[in-house]
């Protein structure tokens, strides 16, 4: 029975590798966070349950849960938690760990969009909103993409009229000046974070 298989050290791992993960053990299982979450009925595990699963060493189940990806950052749980757990932050930290470990649920829309946003932003150092919207619309195939784009047509036209959306952005789009410097910064930041969180 190898440790890798049973992951009895999952709580320790969360404490080390997840931002503010050291607060997980402070949870007293009262349930206020779960009852207060506006998304509560729509996800697999409420925060209270996730925290208990972490303690129980259920690594795969926790990291492949869709719950962290459903968090809207409304902060209701943090405001009400009698133990002042930074629940929202822990949720985001868990989502990041899940992503890095390749355990985030496949096809989870928030996870997918997060990746798209990141790729879009880091490519040229600027968010290209036109390309970002289009990649979101067309992520489920061409036919669905056309339907999505048609449905959003009036919004797009409005944005264009107001000068908030430039159709020319489709041809490359605006960029920052020092792209290679920006990429070097990102690389360094990632190295630092990876070393700190033992993620490499």
């Amino acid at each position: 029975m190898s440790e890798m298989k049973y992951h009895n050290n999952f709580l320790k791992e969360v404490e080390e590798r997840v931002e503010e993960g050291h607060m997980v053990k402070m949870c007293m299982q009262c349930g206020v966070c779960s009852g207060s979450c506006p998304f509560g009925p729509h996800w697999a595990h409420p925060p209270q349950e996730l925290f208990m699963m972490i303690r129980a060493g259920k690594r795969e189940e926790v990291l492949s849960s869709d719950s962290m990806w459903m968090c809207t950052s409304c902060y209701q749980c943090i405001v009400r938690c009698p133990r002042k757990l930074p629940i929202t932050h822990i949720m985001h930290g868990l989502a990041y760990l899940a992503k890095r470990e390749g355990l985030a649920p496949k096809g989870q829309p928030t996870a997918e969009f997060g990746q798209m946003f990141w790729d879009n932003l880091t490519k040229d150092g600027r968010v290209n909103e036109l390309k970002l919207s289009l990649s979101l619309y067309f992520k489920d195939g061409f036919g669905q993409g056309v339907k999505n784009a048609m449905a959003m047509q009036s919004v797009g036209m409005g944005l264009m009229k107001a000068g908030r959306l430039n159709p020319m952005e489709i041809l490359g789009g605006h960029k920052i000046k020092d792209k290679s410097g920006f990429h070097a910064m990102l690389k360094k930041a990632r190295e630092i974070e990876d070393a700190r969180r033992k993620l490499a």
Binding site: C30, G31, S34, R83
Partner: protein, 428 residues
Amino acid sequence: MTEVVATNQTILVVGGGISGMTAALEAAECGKDVVLVEKNPVLGGRVSQLYRYFPKMCHPVCGLEINQRRTKMNPRIRVLTMAEVTGISGQKGDYTATVKISPRYVNENCTACGECAKAAETDIDDAFNYNLGKVKAAFLPHKMAYPQRYVVAPSVVGTPEGDKIKAACKYGAIDFGMQEETLQLKAGAIVWATGWKPYDAAKIQPYGYDRFSNVITNVEFERLADPHGPTGGKILRPSDGKEAKNVAFIQCAGSRDENHLRHCSRFCCTASLKQTQYVREKFGDEAQSTVYYIDIRAIDRFEDFYAKVRADQSVKFVKSKVAKIVQDEKTGDVVLHGVDTEGYHRYANTHDLVVLAVGMDPEVQGAQVPAEVAADASGFLVSGDANGGIFGAGCATNALDVNRAVQSATASALRAIQVINKVASVEG
């Protein structure tokens, strides 16, 4: 003018609840002179506002009566009611306390015949019943009141109603000439026993105590169950006076919460267990109580009591801190929302009435005591040499049930006695 004899061999006890009475009696029965200062018109404190006592389910009046008798019989205790200590100067063995006495407008001629109350016309809030009902502007705070003496509200002074009240008294007991007085008293040691107050439930926003009439507190529930209470002992809910047979109890309402009271108030689990038995007593097999809890803390020997309540078919336990309460405006029913910890089931449960098991806040925060005393983060007094000859007792020092409050009071009496003995040995 109120005459009080006090020296630096006198023990001043502030607060006349069960703790202050106990400290005063223990010291006086050991031969010390005691002045007992109580803010209310009567002694007994919050214990006199309970219907029954855990764990034996006896009536608290019984224990109080014994203490009232002991107080009455003991010439060494001087009781000052409607009095507050506003200043303390000096040091251990030699204090001077400033005591402010509010006028009662009724002197010791009062026989408690009640004619003045019959003559009174206006109603005022009934503080004894946590303002759930009204009393006449001339009133006896409660049936067991000690001293058995009426009080006249300042609002009728100088009015035709006041004249009528005065004329109704055959014993010349009504005295509108009484003024607020300020006394300076000597004392060698001071026992501070100002007790507790219920945590302000309105601060727990998702429970809507200030918005929903059928969300009440545990102290109010004691008054509803008491035959001397505003409903004559019937458990009727405030919105429509309907019998509340299906009652929810929410534990840790404010306690164990970084946003409210940090401490566990200790008594409230057992108090709610006790209150489920009130529902049982009134409605028999129709009674339904549900206790929503994080974990039941029925401390040490109260575990037996918990086991007894557990076995009662009318009582259900849900392991969950309720997230939110909504009251249905049409039916008046209250719906509790949350997720339980045993299986993580989402619930929306309907009840007739919700009782919030609010915790204990110190009535006087440590920082408000008019002397240098140490206090913890919640404002309860902590003991230590820095306090000199001032000793905390009962719920002024911690959230305690009566048993523990009385133990703490006896301990503080012993400490105060030691100070007085030292003073006496020096003075010979």
